[in-house]
């Protein structure tokens, strides 16, 4: 099979897109031949970075004024009309999931969004994805080529792009960024409208507001939660320090907040914050239903509690039955040492 990767180089998320798709390709496309990576970008300044992190030896750069799906689709449609690529691979972000089905439509292929696994069979591509609100895993057979799929976020581990100094990267470039275009408003001059211009003729005004780095407990990726079992304010303060050392945000259960050992805006659970971190460590939390609902959406829950029978133990992924203070002190030490050695990216 021959596959092409499409990435959005206009976005600051480029590196994670590249590593995500690279991880997926390494897992499921070992036998496939990578044709090229198409990267849309807005500024020449980033070109070396984009090329260096292109997951394939061959890279097609397309410069345009900004991420604009209608222009990108028109360009891809023309560029790929006579290509014999069988599979287009898009990352699982907003851009990837809007471009893949529309491109498939235009190229007469078939598409699937949020794919977490693929395998190739005779005349078809077998794709797996979650359906029924993530309660079921379905298998689909795509039979119309080209197959345009976008990935399910977090389905495979990201894989950094290997640096191969001796391999010459093959780069070709197209520039469709009209001189008259600014980054904010696209202005059109003259009667001869270009294809890309026509594709976004509906836009009268454009403004982009960069996303503030998400902060606070609601958006935290890593949280440490103190429960009733910590017994006093000083211990909560200490956990606050530990959270800082671990790189986590501190949250508390209702008894802790209602004892004023931590401000109410740290309260997790009913009447408080519904957290959805990648990692949640609970310390001396018993796991009452009213609390648990606040951490239920965590990817990984690690419970530390002296009581093996506490409800939180059964509701966690990993549990340590021991004194939370001793365990966390050790953990801080391990992580600090690892940081000194440069073991982690923390």
């Amino acid at each position: 099979m021959k596959h092409t990767i499409v990435l959005n180089g206009c976005s600051e998320t480029f590196l994670s897109q590249a590593e995500e798709v690279n991880g997926f390709a390494a897992a499921y496309l070992k036998d496939s031949r990578a044709d090229k990576t198409i990267i849309f970008h807005c500024t020449d300044r980033h070109k070396p970075f984009l090329i260096a992190n292109s997951p394939t030896p061959s890279t097609q750069l397309i410069r345009l004024p900004r991420y604009q799906p209608e222009i990108i689709l028109r360009t891809l449609e023309q560029l790929e009309a006579s290509s014999n690529t069988e599979l287009y691979l898009f990352p699982g972000d907003f851009a990837g999931s809007e471009l893949s089905p529309r491109l498939a439509y235009r190229l007469g292929g078939s598409s699937l969004i949020a794919v977490n696994k693929i395998s190739r069979t005779e005349n078809a591509l077998t794709c797996h994805k979650a359906v029924y609100s993530n309660y079921m895993q379905a298998e689909f057979k795509l039979s119309e080529r080209p197959y345009c799929i976008s990935l399910a976020k977090g389905s495979t581990d990201p894989l950094p792009i290997a640096v191969e100094n001796d391999v010459e990267k093959d780069v070709s470039e197209i520039d469709i960024a009209n001189q008259e275009w600014s980054n904010t408003v696209l202005s059109f001059k003259g009667d001869q409208k270009s294809e890309p211009e026509k594709a976004c003729a509906h836009i009268v005004d454009y403004e982009f507001v960069k996303k503030e780095a998400a902060s606070g407990l609601e958006n935290a990726n890593y949280i440490l939660v103190a429960g009733r079992g910590v017994k006093m304010k000083e211990k909560v303060d200490k956990l606050h320090t530990i959270a800082g050392q671990l790189g986590a945000e501190l949250g508390v259960s209702r008894p802790v907040a209602m004892s004023a050992w931590a401000p109410l805006n740290k309260l997790i659970g009913v009447s408080g914050i519904m957290a959805k971190p990648q990692i949640c460590i609970t310390a001396a939390v018993s796991g009452a239903a009213a609390f648990y609902t606040g951490i239920e959406k965590s990817k990984l829950i690690i419970a530390i509690n002296t009581d093996r029978g506490a409800p939180i133990i059964r509701a966690s992924d990993l549990a340590i039955v021991d004194d939370y203070e001793k365990v966390l002190d050790e953990l801080v030490q391990i992580i600090t040492e690892a940081q000194c050695k440069g073991d982690t990216s923390l």
């Binding site: 699937l112 309660y135 507001v209 059964r314 340590i320």
Partner: protein, 273 residues
């Protein structure tokens, strides 16, 4: 301005218990035992539509709202609610076929309906719904009609001279565009997640208007209806186990347990944060 908002009624899958997830013939799952609800993205879409109308009318421009759903008679209760909330027209395209994994067919029906009535300049739909989780319908409606599509829209406001100001989420920020219809707007994670609730009086006064019922065969040819997922067929379906394992990390001292936790579970995950 004429706006068409499309919505889908889905089963509240969170009410299903583990033993209810039984795969039957043709990869069907019986979810008829649980309550229905408006697909959450579509619920946002409907509320955003009403908010737009309120604002536009304050500015003195007339807005005509239609709502469209595809399915059986059971859905009429929802359409009546929309009448009570002052939608001008409620349409149901009668369908008994299994179109769970056929966004191509659904979008064809919507696009053909729009071509026939020649009306709406703006089509608003939720971006995804939780049975098929296809997340393709709004995009394909736009493709069928040759209209632009703004995805991940979160806010729609009236602008001057029949233009719309649409805010949408991008991967690294928020895009605010003023656009000239026609267009398709696909609603993402909008701050308005609930549809307002009509009063009993409004239900009596406005909720009894007749629902327009159309036949799907008029908007999709028979061959497609019989083979609606041409090009991407479902060939397998199985439950995903969400149960947390509660694996107890062993060790004779707290230090050992912390080491075990870090090296076997945390280290790699921390790198990915």
């Amino acid at each position: 301005m004429n706006i068409l908002t499309c919505f889908k009624i889905v089963s509240d899958l969170d009410l299903m218990s583990e033993s209810d997830w039984v795969v039957e013939d043709h990869f069907r799952i019986n979810t008829s035992f649980v309550k229905n609800m408006i697909n959450p993205y579509d619920e946002s879409a409907l509320e955003i539509t009403l908010l737009y109308k309120e604002q536009a009318e304050k500015l003195g421009s007339a807005v005509n709202l239609s709502a469209l759903t595809i399915g059986s008679k059971q859905l009429d209760a929802y359409l009546k609610t929309l009448y009570a909330l002052r939608f001008d027209k409620a349409v149901r395209i009668e369908n008994q076929h299994d179109l769970r994994f056929s966004p191509d067919a659904i979008s064809t029906v919507i696009a053909n309906y729009v071509k026939v009535i020649k009306k709406p300049e703006v089509i608003i739909l939720g971006r995804q719904s939780g049975v098929g989780d296809n997340a393709k319908t709004p995009l394909l409606v736009a493709e069928h009609l040759g209209w632009p599509c703004i995805s991940q829209a979160v806010k729609i406001e009236p602008a001057s001279e029949g233009l719309l100001k649409v805010s949408s989420m991008a991967d690294d920020g928020l895009v605010i565009e003023t656009i000239r219809p026609p267009c398709v707007l696909s609603i993402g994670n909008a701050p308005n997640s609930y549809l307002r609730i009509p009063t009993l009086k409004d239900k009596v006064n406005y909720g009894k208007k007749e629902i327009e019922v159309l036949e799907i065969e008029n908007y999709l040819n028979q061959a497609v209806l019989e083979q609606p997922s041409e090009g991407h067929n479902i060939t397998g379906l199985k439950p995903i186990n969400h149960k947390r394992q509660g694996v107890v990390i062993e060790g004779s001292t707290p230090a050992e347990k912390a080491q075990n936790l870090y090296h076997n579970y945390l280290q790699e995950r921390l790198k990915q944060l």
